[in-house]
Symmetry: C2
Subunit: 496 residues, 2 copies
Amino acid sequence: MLENIDLSRKVSKEEYKSVKGALELKLAELQRCIKKMEIPLIIVFEGWDASGKGTLINELILPLDPRNFRVYSTHSPNQEEIMYPFLCRFWRHTPERGRITIYDRSWYRMALDERVSGSVKTEDVQNVFNDIRCFERQLADDGNIIIKFFLHISYYEQKKRFEELSKNKTTSWRISENDLKRQRHYKKYLAVTEEMLAETDSEFAPWSIVEAHDRRFATLKIFNTVISALEHEINRKKRDVDNINKRVPASSFDLPVDLNISILDKVDLSLDCKPENYSSKLEKRQEQIRELAHELYMRKIPLVVVYQGWDAAGKGGNIKRLTQNLDPRGYEVIPVSAPNTIEKAHHYLRRFWIRMPKAGHISIFDRSWYGRVLDERVEGFCSEAEWKRAYREINEMEKHLTNFGAILLKFWLHIDKDEQLKRFEERQNDENKQWKITDEDWRNRKKWDMYKIAVEEMLFRTSTSHAPWTIVESNSKPYARLKVLETVISSIEERI
Amino acid sequence: MLENIDLSRKVSKEEYKSVKGALELKLAELQRCIKKMEIPLIIVFEGWDASGKGTLINELILPLDPRNFRVYSTHSPNQEEIMYPFLCRFWRHTPERGRITIYDRSWYRMALDERVSGSVKTEDVQNVFNDIRCFERQLADDGNIIIKFFLHISYYEQKKRFEELSKNKTTSWRISENDLKRQRHYKKYLAVTEEMLAETDSEFAPWSIVEAHDRRFATLKIFNTVISALEHEINRKKRDVDNINKRVPASSFDLPVDLNISILDKVDLSLDCKPENYSSKLEKRQEQIRELAHELYMRKIPLVVVYQGWDAAGKGGNIKRLTQNLDPRGYEVIPVSAPNTIEKAHHYLRRFWIRMPKAGHISIFDRSWYGRVLDERVEGFCSEAEWKRAYREINEMEKHLTNFGAILLKFWLHIDKDEQLKRFEERQNDENKQWKITDEDWRNRKKWDMYKIAVEEMLFRTSTSHAPWTIVESNSKPYARLKVLETVISSIEERI
């Protein structure tokens, strides 16, 4: 999912100046507040070489009282450190209550550098993830606020920065052989990074991706993230102490830019397929799917396909093309709407657990458990704590399924707002399609921006190596249908 | 630790009758209460074949409103069930809000029967534990109360019961070939069971061991455990809702018997070693330890030895004998007392993390992180939630250490109350030893019974296959010293 993130966003000098002062003042105030309330704060900076960790940490500490924080720089473990369990040195530098530790690189080295270099063996990687989760949970349970940043830059940006650094005598020493080696293996690091982010993201220590091409954008995002996290936790603590449901309103700054992660803006919705090729291609793909479904049956591999997407993105037609040629005894399409009374009386995941395909069969979910972090989040049908922990719960469920041997594919059918309007109006004006459009569709459309934030966070937090999301450019229905078919085909082929 | 549990405890018919009625009434009342409050309840019965699961479940459901619970009997998965991820069928039967599901056997089959039979591969066992932890945490987060019983009987008791069943025509059909096979492999099941209990014990779904030789004792313990768990959760929920720190007092029944797990009562404190053999044996063991310590150094294996025990149990003298012959550059004795101000400002585990031995070295902790679940629990220095989650946190830390390659040994130096009094008085009356005895020692002695409960729960919840507890019979100091030395020697030898 990292590759899909829009890294082009920028903030002008003037825009930056207009708000930076207020953010700094607020941060300084909150720091005094957590000092007084004895809340310890941990901030982790991870990210690509040359992504600007040093510069950005400097920006962050400027407004802070220097007596109240320390920056711990994590180099590869030295001869002495390697003699201890790897968490020891990080435990040592955890902050006292009311103080701040900023880790410039951290325990995540074990899941990145030490993993790629081979000093962590493949069979131990899961242990490392588990150790990290336990470590962070223990600290969070003890009252620590944990904020983790991953500074993201593209391969080309990194290359450019390296070249600039090496041109200049005063900076060229900063680039080592190892840095260049890592640069050459950007792709490999990307995959390892994505797995690490997915495995260690949690409601008590969530990852924030910082688009780090533009220093000013990155600075604003870091400030804003830290401020919201502190305000959130301070409010929670105050509620606990006073036993009153009071809530200090979160600060709102007049930010010159949208800081939310942006994945969908980069999607190329102009993609199309030539009408003259469509039918023959479709037929061919459907034939392939039919054969592969038989193969799955023989090998007892279950397949789960999840469809999510904007209203009128074409889920129905897409599913139709996927199943048209399949043996009806081997698959089931499961339409998911709001939970009924009985379903509401259970854990929200239960109704999906009991509809999973059996070995060798296919379940196609038309909407799914992702309702928890989409509709239920946006409409307020569940609490913030509930949808925040749902990312982890969903990842856990999907891991159980794929550990069992299932292939799990998730499609986000993406259209833009104009295309949606066009389709809504078509439906409205066509007698035979009017049933397809409801008042709710129009209501949801009004909340497009809130849904977009939820969708992008979902795509980022639940795209795992074992159950990846595929974004399907769906302004062209034929293109979208072929893309889904082809993704399903290649995923099955890869497995068998 | 299961082998150490005292299974001999009994309740007479009269005693049983005197309290059973009150427990039943209370349980019925609480059941109506959780129904009204919409709290779902899950009760798991696991245990040896012929430990009486059926009978005891019957006792439990008798006072319940039959419209509000169901019993789900878990047999080995059938041809259909085996086609799904193993959690599916248990998800299906989770209770609606306000209702009760009683699982007669459960998802733990995967960690017991299916593991021993080989249908769960060794490399997947950790995944199974992890799946179970995630499953239970998700349900607990959603408001479920989870109570897990393990009905424990000895090898001989099981054998006796099997023989009785097979004698009688009307019951002999109940014993299958598989049952008899499992009986023959009691030892193997015992080890697997202990690992399962340690890996899946948690503050949100704790295990309760039920001593099941005596049906009446077992019934009372089950009733009492369910009642306390429900009262605890109902109180917590009420506090959340009303936002007031009110607490309904827990019911206290006039129980005819102590229901707490009993491990220490069975310890044979008459064990001694012949005085004429002591010196020569001691010298020989110390020489062995010296050589093995060198071996550890060469192989870079760290060793952690934890001493806990009653005041005046002889920790100091015991540690002295362990270290007397060791190279002082290779070990460190770490005396642990109450945390200082800086230590208090951190997570309670931090001060231990930063004192762990480096590879090839030895750390000996004279008292340790177990203070959290002993002194801090009994003296009220931490909250109930804190010491309850500490068992898991400690197991996590110890697992990290042993994954790193450390050998971790924990000794509980046990004496009885009379022996302690004798030693206290000796100290008091000997000028040279008076410094050893303080007012605090006398104060702690008064709380002997509360400490005993804490010690036994600690021994049960933190004895893991990778970091086992050894109970050291310490009424005889020479015996205790030799036993520790010999345990250390055999543990090191086993590793190298």
